[in-house]
Amino acid sequence: MVSSVVGVDFMTSRKNILSRILSQYGISLALLIEIILFSRLSPFFFTTENILNVTLQISITAIIAAGMTFVILTAGIDLSVGALVALSGVLATSVLKLPIPLIYSFPLFLATGILVGVFSGWLSAFFITRFNVTPFIVTLALMSIWRGGAYLYTGGRPVWGLPHAFSMLGGGRVAGIPLPTLIMLAVYAAAYIVLQYTRFGRHVYAVGGNQEAARLAGINTKRVLRQVYILCGVLSALSGMLLASRMNSGQPNAGLMYELDVIAAVVVGGASLFGGRGSIVGTFVGAMLIGVSRNGLNLLNVNSYIQQIIVGLVILVAVMLDQMRKR
């Protein structure tokens, strides 16, 4: 987590007790308030099954958000993630249609999906580093291309009729915990360690803080950028494969607008879009905050038009709390 250096100076004033609390807990506090609120309003909210349900719901976007955190830390952005979910989903599932046993086709399925993710990330980084095009434009273009590719490849129809056993990947449980939830936790644990304790992690922060300074300090900034976009691409593809398994089909219209949910999770989690500031734990809390909002509002059967407005407000309030924290 980002150390909260600022805010400590104001401890003398009583009015700043609030900002001290905020400086310590920020959006975790918002999440806690939300959880208490929903628990009071719905008897079905704070149950083991529903908590597992929420983690299952957010797993898809949260896994991408872990990758997006790296990208945003370098002051970049990746808008292609939602389209990549669809493209990796339809390409990988079509491998499962081959007339070979699942034991052979499943590794091929994983390889195909991951390859799609690697390629997309590599391509983004290639245009960004080689031609100096801003990440926003490059990945916006790729978003359109991958989405179009997914529709073209499938003719707009889903890839379906997959082996039933395939649905175990997204639908299976280990010790009662959904597999996607476990995969998400593993991804976050790994991302946390990489970002906090490895040289690559420090380079990511350095590149985001000041790319030129990082380069002069001897960091291969282009390589760091290439690595973060590939990481984000692979995690998007992983999500795409998990989602395809949950639906036991490859849907060309899957992942629509996921990029916005993912970016919102990262930013709500305290990351700066200008790079250099943000944390993996923050992103996880951000993803939870958005996921819990959606889930709670659905449990309360709140009208879907109002839901959209409330989710927007939650994002605004969370970011506002974060700004107060920094002051």
């Binding site: 719905s42 079905f44 149950t47 099954e49 529903n50 349900n53 299952l56 719901q57 898809i60 889903p158 379906w160 009729g161 649905s167 639908g171 989602l243 949950r246 639906m247 036991n248 089909s249 849907q251 219209n253 899957a254 992942g255 629509l256 959606r294 889930n295 659905n298 449990l299 309360l300 059967n301 009208n303 879907s304 038009y305 839901q307």
Partner: protein, 317 residues
């Protein structure tokens, strides 16, 4: 073949052949009394690549043959520019009527306005135009479709239970479906609609909201998905949380949905549209118009419902 010569003055020969050969086949050109085609109707479909539109086209052709109308069939293939050009060509050719399945409800307006200026009557089928003057719009009766889904669920659940709707309340056709569904369910005092959530009409979102609904309602008995992606997403959620005793009804009877119904999953039935009937009805309304009876502005076409029984009956046949 007096009939052939009459038109060949205006249109290239290959085009006449393309249009007239199926026409002749359908009218049965073997018959002695080869009548002159009384009217020429220009048709621009949304696409010819989809099964739905293939069926609609067949409906148009067979009804036109019965009335001895000549059809000039073109397709936009989702390209509004192409469709506008086709309508302009029809106007230049001074056809007697134009049938449009708009590639874009708004964008097709200016082209329809040109036909209006030339005093050529315009009819729309399946998709309505928001602009320009249209004599009559023929489309599936979405309200009736929703009603049939509601009645089916009521029958399956014996008139009582908790029901959820996987909605997409940003489309008018879907608002109609849901309205019809709610109307039907309202007739059963022991049936309650406990949730109405937005699955955005796509399977992944539908699955997510359906999972939430399953948490909120341990006693859920029925789900209505406003299209098949919504119904299949609900089915994914039901299967993932291993819930039993839930009946799902979908809409459109796409192949994956039909497959799920036949496999005896929680998806029990699907509303089907009859595009062929939309085509036939459109021609019928044109005939009414020509005979001086102004047809209604909007003509709904009946829809049906299929379940495991009816599907397995047609499959074995």
């Amino acid at each position: 073949m007096t009939f052939n010569q009459r038109v060949s003055v205006r249109i290239p020969k290959s085009f006449i052949l393309a249009v007239i050969i199926p026409f002749l086949v359908l009218t049965g050109c073997g018959k002695k009394e080869t009548r002159k085609s009384s009217k020429i109707i220009g048709v621009t479909l949304l696409t010819r690549a989809h099964l739905f539109y293939k069926d609609l086209e067949e409906g148009l052709l067979s009804a036109a043959a019965r009335n001895n109308y000549e059809l000039i069939i073109t397709a936009a293939e989702f390209d509004l520019g192409r469709q506008s050009g086709q309508i302009e060509d029809f106007v230049a050719r001074r056809v007697d009527a134009i049938i449009v399945c708009p590639a874009d409800s708004r964008g097709v307006g200016p082209a329809i306005a040109k036909a209006n200026q030339a005093k050529i009557p315009v009819f729309t089928a399946d998709i309505a135009s928001q602009e320009g003057e249209v004599v009559c719009h023929v489309a599936s009766d979405n309200i009736a479709g929703g009603r049939q889904a509601g009645e089916y669920l009521a029958r399956t659940l014996k008139g009582k239970g908790n029901i959820a709707i996987i909605d997409q309340p940003t489309l008018t056709s879907v608002l109609d479906r849901v309205q019809g569904f709610k109307d039907a369910v309202a007739l059963y005092p022991d049936m309650r609609i406990v949730a109405d959530v937005n699955g955005e009409g796509v399977r992944d979102k539908a699955m997510q909201v359906a999972s939430d609904i399953l948490q909120a309602h341990p006693e859920l008995n029925g789900i209505f998905g406003i299209n098949d992606d919504s119904a299949l997403g609900a089915l994914d959620a039901v299967q993932q949380f291993k819930r039993s005793g839930i009946s799902i009804v979908g809409y459109d009877a796409t192949p994956p949905a039909v497959d799920a119904i036949l496999k005896n999953t929680a998806l029990k039935a699907d509303v089907v549209q009859y595009p062929r009937r939309i085509g036939e009805t459109t021609i019928q309304k044109i005939r009414e118009y020509f005979s001086g009876v102004p047809p209604q502005k909007v003509v709904p076409v009946e829809v049906g419902i299929v379940d495991r029984d009816s599907l397995s009956r047609t499959q074995t046949r």
